[in-house]
């Protein structure tokens, strides 16, 4: 009889830190200690605390073990599983208070989890994503059953509309209205498309949902199909997400076997089936019209709207296209009602939002919080703050299409409208945290490099414009810029925004515009003072030895890879600026803090 479950994270983050091996060792040790009939090993999706992976949870106690290594497994099995003694040294128990923690700490009391409210991620890290039965045990497919047997398509759309759910891919278009616009259009075939082409650097929300709870997407797409009168669905997912693709494929097969996809589902006469299409990794394919063009087998390029997909989408038929996280909310709304969903969040942004925390933050990982939570809570409480005692400088939301939120706006409640108001955007949920060591001009340049690479080339403002933007930024970071360059940069940004064909070009200048808005002084420092305040841009940087502090130990000279440092023993040394490649090796090796960046 099973008395304990050992949950091992099988998300991409933990898999890359070795959770597969740990699972094998667990299986071996459990067998060795004769616990095979008492302890069940379950591979789950992402728990969210990727920074501390590989993560293992032991139930029924709910003990959360972090950074488990293969060599720790025997101790967990022999101590915890066999003798009931929790292995304290591996437990994550950061409750935010300084009081020492005794015994077992409920996961929900830890700082990382206590302010979270998991709706889209409700099953991630709880169920085995490869078992349809476990999904059903968590009320899975009950929403589909309810929709098909108790509700009319109009009622389903009304429920979604009333809930206030908005597109989680970044645009924030009301989901109910999208469905309502598609439903009345007559056509022999309509489609439901799930956008899982998560391309922003630093975003991995959709991947985690697909890896941890693939059935919720299948269920939601079938509900959407019923609501708008579509019988076929496509999930467009990146080929770079092999685990997500495999689990989704398995889930589709299981659902077909159970008759939850196919003909006459729940005896209602409604048919629905779906397919996976793999994306080749082009960022532009996350744009809805380009995505549909790509599904059709053509080169992934956007086309002008209107006509909108609601009228003419995939294969020229009316199509509803929603993002993974949007779909993940749908079954819960049908089951628990629009009112429940609308009770969370702010006036115009209902429900919760999943964020992928990355960059200079302690708890890199995945969090789901009610809309309207302040950036301060996300970064300082849930995220655990900035590592190494550095100061928070800004956070980038929306990846290469978004903007930054500077430190003095850290108390902004995060929702669609507040972020738009400060020239930022919600985006799909990537949240990259930057500390005082980040140069904002360099950061804007990084995102521009990305959009230049990813521009599909169809329209000139985006293809040529972003390239020119990048050249200007490059000039500025090299110390060759002028004040006129900054003005021209700004003008060009607005031109690209207004004239580009699709969302990629229209949003590509955002990182430049928002850094110009909040950190214009840094741009000015680059062009007027020829200095990089954060000490990042190499061309504007000098390493200098402070004469008074230098003891003449020769250590820096011996470690300089290009022999740029000269000086006699016990005499102050000097760096030859012409030879110096600014690698920083001398700073790292100086025992007297005598070398400074300026």
């Amino acid at each position: 009889m099973i008395r304990a479950h050992v949950l091992i994270c099988g998300g991409t983050g933990c898999t890359s830190s070795g959770s597969k091996t740990i699972q094998e060792v667990f299986a071996e040790k459990i067998e060795q200690f004769g616990l095979k009939d008492e302890v069940k090993l379950v591979q789950t999706g992402c728990f969210g605390l990727c920074e501390l992976g590989p993560v293992v949870i032991v139930h029924p106690d709910g003990t959360f073990y972090s950074r488990v290594e293969a060599t720790d497994v025997e101790e967990i099995v022999s101590e915890h599983l066999l003798k009931g003694r929790v292995v304290d040294r591996l437990v994550y128990a950061d409750t935010g208070s300084d009081a020492p923690v005794e015994g077992n700490v409920s996961l929900n009391d830890t700082v990382f989890y206590k302010t979270q409210n998991r709706v889209a991620l409700r099953n991630c890290g709880v169920i085995n994503p490869e078992s349809i039965d476990e999904y059903i045990a968590m009320d899975g497919y009950a929403a589909l059953g309810k929709a098909l047997t108790e509700m009319t398509p109009e009622e389903v759309i009304q429920e979604i509309t009333d809930s206030g759910l908005r597109g989680r891919g970044g645009g924030g278009f009301p989901t109910g209205r999208k469905w309502a616009l598609t439903a009345p259009n007559k056509a022999p075939q309509k489609y439901v498309v799930c956008n899982a082409d998560e391309g922003d650097p630093g975003a991995f929300m959709d991947r985690s949902v697909l890896e941890g709870d693939p059935h919720s997407i299948i269920e939601a797409m079938a509900i959407a199909g019923y609501a708008i009168g579509a019988t076929e669905g496509y999930v467009y997912v990146r080929a770079e997400y092999p685990i997500a693709v495999a689990r989704l494929q398995l889930a589709i097969e299981q659902a077909r076997e159970y008759g939850l996809l196919g003909k006459d589902i729940f005896g209602s006469g409604f048919d629905f089936d779906m397919h996976i299409r793999l994306g080749a990794g082009a960022f532009v394919c996350g744009e809805e019209t380009a995505l549909m063009t790509s599904i059709e087998g053509n080169r992934g390029e956007p086309r002008p709207r209107p006509p909108y997909p609601a009228v003419r989408g995939l294969y020229n038929s009316p199509t509803v296209e929603n993002n993974v996280e949007t779909f993940a909310n749908v079954p819960q709304i049908i089951l628990r009602g629009a009112e429940w969903f609308a009770s969370m969040g702010t006036e115009k942004s209902k429900g919760t939002k999943v964020f992928a925390l990355g960059g200079k933050i302690k708890h890199t990982g995945l969090v789901e919080i009610p809309m309207g939570t302040t950036l301060r809570e996300i970064i300082e409480d849930i995220g655990g703050g900035i590592p190494n005692g550095k100061k928070f400088k800004a956070a980038q939301t929306g990846g290469p299409s978004g903007g930054c939120i500077p430190a003095d706006l850290i108390d902004t409640p995060v929702d669609y409208d507040n972020l738009t108001a400060i020239g930022c955007m919600m985006g799909s949920g990537g949240l990259i945290v930057m500390d005082e060591d980040t140069c904002m001009v360099d950061m804007a340049k990084f995102f521009l490099e990305f959009t230049v690479d990813e521009s599909c080339g169809k329209c000139t403002p985006c293809r040529v414009g972003t390239k020119r933007l990048l050249e200007k930024l490059d000039k500025i970071t090299k110390g060759n810029g002028t004040l006129e360059d900054i003005d021209e940069l700004e003008q060009l940004c607005y031109y690209i925004k207004e004239n580009s064909l699709c969302g990629l070009g229209q949003t590509a200048p955002n990182p430049v515009l928002s850094t110009l808005k909040f950190f214009r002084d840094e741009y000015v420092a680059h062009v007027v003072d020829k200095k990089c305040p954060a000490g990042v841009c190499k061309d504007l940087l000098q390493y200098v030895i402070v004469e008074d502090l230098c003891k003449g130990c020769t250590k820096c000279a011996r470690n300089c890879p290009v022999n740029a440092i000269e000086g006699a023993v016990k005499q102050p040394h000097v760096i030859d600026q012409d030879k110096c490649i600014k690698c920083g090796a001398c700073v790292a090796n100086c025992n007297f803090k005598a070398i400074i960046k300026q």
């Binding site: 009889m1 029924p60 003798k83 045990a137 059953g145 939850l260 006459d264 729940f266």
Partner: protein
């Protein structure tokens, strides 16, 4: 799948199996499983609790778990029952045979089996 009843059947069957992870147990049965407990026969006691709680469909409200040595090794196997708002009940010198009465009278009936508790033991 042609009816909601089929879905419900799978759900009912599976719910017991995942209830263990929910952590919503209103009552917690904790079996001492240190070396002393195991030597005195705690394993069959734990097994009996798990089995009977599951068989009777109580897994959603009762959590069966284990702990280390609580210091009264001469009374092992020791089983403690925790319930919110009530005083802890400590059963001592448990055997697998005694488990069914605890499940029936205490966990389901709400009345501790006094004769198995530590208070009834003669030093």
């Amino acid at each position: 799948m042609k009816s909601l009843a089929e879905l419900q059947a799978i759900r009912d069957k599976m719910q017991n199996k995942v209830a263990l992870r929910e952590g919503t147990g209103e009552k917690r049965v904790v079996v001492g499983m240190a070396t002393c407990g195991i030597a005195a026969g705690a394993r069959p006691v734990l097994g009996a609790f798990v089995e009977q709680v599951n068989e009777q469909g109580l897994a959603g409200t009762i959590t069966v778990t284990q702990t280390g040595c609580i210091g009264i090794c001469q009374y092992e196997p020791v089983v403690e029952v925790f319930e919110a708002g009530k005083e802890k009940v400590t059963y001592v010198k448990m055997t697998a045979d005694k488990v069914s009465r605890v499940v029936e009278e205490h966990l389901k009936g709400g009345k501790p089996v006094a004769e198995f508790t530590i208070g009834q033991q003669k030093a």
